[in-house]
Symmetry: C2
Subunit: 242 residues, 2 copies
């Protein structure tokens, strides 16, 4: 089966967590965001699903994955599905739930990171909410960032398998996602994230291990990997990086 | 097995989504938030788990559920677990994923509703972020609230089973959660939610059907149900309800 991934073109966004899982799995997939509109890709492809009146299990928003006749939405839910099919999660139910739990905590972390530059509304430009963004970011960097990073550091530390991973002795989709968040934070807040990561050697090592995986390395070097940019979740505004 | 639910005392919060599932299932559980501290409940009970250095699968934050030796965190993840065990989700994997997908969209809806009164930081009082709260709420009521409600209305409409529910012909935990959100929105924004719900007859009916379930009715009438209040996710500030 060839998966079809639907996401907004031009950004990594939440689609990237799915891409990293598909790439690490070596799965066959078409990334519709990279397909020109004239060839059936891009935003019209995405809208044709969101506006399909016959579709019963309608996603609320991208990303979503077409897997045969199933359309699966919500990043963590897509990963729950892929994790089971491609050995990117443990086999036992308790291990699956634990991986899902970590992924949901990563999703909260991502949402809070996004809201640093858009605390008021996505429908407004950053410049229209800059004062609020400064206040929100100050709190995020002082309180939330160290809390999340410290949590994941402890999770790796307590992993009895004593590997470099969050869950057991093998890589899971949660590891891929956490590494992506670290890369994003380093892009968005080069100074604050360096400071915050100083006390998180295990999280730093996990990031390095993920991006040293042969398939991930090939993917990041390819033109399939969209560069970080300021239309995305992780944005670099010098005035916020304190 | 007697479940143990850990959550902050005095508010419904995200714990309420778990409570409604446990109540509808008729499951045996102890709500530690309702147990006096002297009897081993309340905040110290919760902290004893969060600070347990031997616990390998550490939750990031409440709510979490103790099920035998498992400690399960993240609301949607707890519900994924309970849904499978208590027939509050379909039996087939695609149905389970779809229910989880809806629950994650409800979680996004809840987070955005919460942030209307706390757009800058949870560590600050409402009064310290009132101007930003007004702006964020204006966008939420104008754009996000109708978008979420319209989505769930369509999901019920397209449910082929033609019941009143989101998924298939039987109630799921996603129905319980959506009904709770509607109740919360009516508490927080009596005027704006009445207006927004006018075009969502199916969502209104789902709310009524859930709160007419015998077990849910008994629960809501009991002293186990904490009333809505302004320390909670759904808060009533007259100046925001426009």
């Amino acid at each position: 089966m060839v998966y079809e991934l639907y996401y907004w073109p031009g950004i990594q966004g939440r689609g990237e967590f799915v891409r990293l899982a598909l790439e690490e799995a070596g799965a066959d997939y078409v990334d519709l965001a990279l397909v020109p509109e004239d060839d059936g890709g891009g935003v019209p492809a995405l809208e044709s699903i969101l506006e399909d009146k016959r579709l019963q299990r309608l996603p609320f928003a991208p990303p979503f994955l077409k897997a045969g006749r199933q359309v699966i939405g919500q990043t963590a839910n897509i990963l729950l599905y892929l994790g089971g099919r491609h050995a990117l999660a443990p086999r036992d139910q308790a291990g699956r739930l634990w991986t899902n739990q970590l992924q949901l905590t990563i999703a909260d972390f991502v949402a809070e990171t996004h809201d640093t530059h858009h605390p008021i509304a996505n429908s407004l430009y950053y410049n229209e909410q800059k004062a609020a963004a400064k206040r929100r970011t100050r709190d995020f960097l002082a309180n939330r960032l160290p809390k999340f990073l410290g949590y994941f550091e402890r999770v790796i530390e307590r992993n009895r398998a004593r590997g470099a991973w969050l869950v057991g002795a093998r890589i899971t989709y949660a590891d891929l996602s956490l590494a992506q968040v670290i890369a994003g934070l380093r892009y968005a807040f080069p100074s604050a994230s360096r400071h915050a990561l100083r006390s998180c050697p295990r999280v730093r090592a996990l990031h390095d291990d993920v991006f040293a995986r042969p398939r991930i390395k090939r993917y990041v070097a390819s033109d399939r990997r969209i560069p970080f940019n300021n239309d995305d979740i992780f944005r670099r505004y010098r005035e916020l990086d304190r």
